[in-house]
């Protein structure tokens, strides 16, 4: 359903005074494609490429003809695309592996290539009618493989060392868990505030952690008009997550 923007501060196009008239062009209602191809062939000179024969594609000569210019631009585009991919690949590898000093415990470099081959093979099988009976397995694999791939890539490219001044990730996790416990938010603070608790005079604002209502006290959504939630139980997050995913998984 079309949604109109609420903001219409200047929603009218002011007519321009003295707008110059549009140029009148001979009406073209029908494209003579044979003459267009013929013109291209005649002035190229085209031999158009015949890639079906597996031969090097002959290119039009001269720089005046539109098709000749277009082919030059397109050929540069292909070269550029190859250079782009090669450059990106080299950059990625330089970040993840150092040939002189491999990361301890790193997976051998060719494993990622083998992984890509495995994905290709599974992709090919998925669309093979002969393998239709195995469809449920492919569905399962499709769900599992991204997780496995993520683990594999993390192994190959381990997280960067943590800056010493930042609070440990685990501490943040624990902190959020503690503040999700009913009533806990009033009594706990993040480890980074420990110094303040022990005598520092500077008061820091308590970080916001969402709802301050203990989960056990929440009532079903039908008693909370407008919440849009079915129930407020520990499965609440799962429910919201599932709805979010299905919405995006068009």
């Amino acid at each position: 359903m079309p949604v109109r923007p609420a903001l219409t501060r200047r929603n009218q196009v002011e007519p321009r005074a003295e707008r110059p008239p549009a140029v009148r062009m001979r009406p073209i209602r029908q494209l003579d494609l044979s003459s267009a191809i013929g013109a291209a062939r005649a002035s190229g000179p085209v031999p158009f490429p015949d890639e079906s024969l597996g031969q090097p594609a002959p290119r039009p000569r001269g720089s005046e003809h539109p098709v000749s210019s277009a082919y030059k631009v397109f050929d540069r585009y292909l070269d550029e695309g190859r250079q782009y991919a090669a450059g990106h690949s080299a950059w990625s590898q330089s970040l993840s592996r150092s040939p002189a000093a491999p990361t301890p415990g790193a997976v051998p470099g060719d494993l990622l290539g083998q992984w890509d081959k495995l994905l290709s093979a599974i992709d090919a099988l998925r669309v093979n009618p002969a393998a239709a009976a195995l469809a449920p397995w492919f569905e399962l694999l499709t769900k599992l493989l991204p997780t496995i791939g993520s683990e594999l890539r993390q192994t190959i490219s381990p997280p960067a060392p943590r800056a010493s001044t930042a609070p440990p990730h685990e501490d943040w996790e624990r902190w959020f868990q503690e503040h999700s416990t009913p009533g806990a938010h009033k009594h706990r603070s993040h480890p980074s505030q420990a110094a303040d608790r022990h005598g520092a005079s500077v008061a820091r604002p308590t970080p916001r952690t969402g709802s301050t209502i203990p989960i056990a006290n929440l009532k079903p959504a039908r008693e909370m008009p407008g919440s849009g939630l079915k129930e407020n139980t520990p499965s609440l997050l799962d429910d919201v997550f599932a709805r979010g995913v299905s919405k995006r998984n068009l």
Binding site: M1, P2, V3, R4, P5, A6, L7, R9, R10, N11, V13, R16, R19, P20, P21, A22, V23, R24, M25, R26, I28, R29, Q30, L31, D32, L33, S34, A36, G38, A39, A40, V46, F48, P49, D50, E51, A57, P66, V67, S69, A70, Y71, V73, F74, Y77, L78, Y84, D116, L119, S120, I122, D123, A124, R126, T142, P146, G149, R248, N249, L250
Partner: protein, 342 residues
Amino acid sequence: MRTPSVVPELLCEYGARAREALLAFLPQREPRKYLYDLLADYPSRASRHMRPAICIATARAFGAPLEAALNSAVSIELLHNALLIVDDIQDESEERRGAPTMHRATGLPIALNVGSTMSVLSLVPLLGNVSTCGPQVALWIFERTIEVAQQCAEGQALELGWRFDNRLDLTDEDYLDMVMRKTCSYSTMLPIRAGAMIATRRREVPDALVRFGFLLGAAFQIQDDLLNLTGSHERYGKELNGDLLEGKRTLLIIRLLQRCSAQETAFVSRFLATERSAKKPEDVHSLLSLLTRYDCIEATRCFAQALLGAAAHDFDQSLAQLPPSRDREFLRGLIPWVIEQP
């Protein structure tokens, strides 16, 4: 050759599916007034939905179901609308699809925020390709989309830079290179590449197929430049002569500079360098007269026709080898449609 009826039919059918999916995808939360309702503004306006239709039709022509291409089609259409918002700001355009441009309606800061948000959101539907197309294809399309977004920025940079430096020495190849990056890369080449990849699960798409997209897209842009001068305001949906007012280096201007006298070149140079708001209607009229006198409009139209002739050849080399289908005929029918488009 005339546009077959399958072209408007599938533009309507696939465009409606893509638009429905796109609007359902957009977040429904606050701040609606200043962001999320505005994200739906451009996609809700009447448009031809050429890009998602090409993506879906290519996938179907190669044998994939429509649903397999929907994530990519939505992503491409979102990227397109994001680019339009930003382009309109950069070009100081007044109208888009028959209504005021985003920045005219909301002011520059809000429009910029909407455009950048939509750019980022355009990548999100591609994550759905993991389940519909498999991880390998999903990653390939994701990488190509990022590459194409970068090429769009490069094309826009070229066009803006030429205006900034008031360049008068541009060639046909310069123009085609700019158009390939700015328009063809995401309007025709990416939809075709993604559609073919979704259906075939191959690592590479034949060059002839991609080149068909490039030639079609370049002719489309040239025709759009022509319509900016020669179309009717109601059907074009944007202000006429806007390209001249913005000082754009269209093929028409490049042709004129190749043909006109030194004195006329000086006039064109002054005109192009003048700020849009300071351009006089009589100067616009003089420039239009020069374009007519030197037959630039007809020459540009012939240029587009030649590209379409080459596109027809590349179609025969690639898509024509597929089994007959409405989708294949749609893609072939886009060649005359580029010229005859409403």
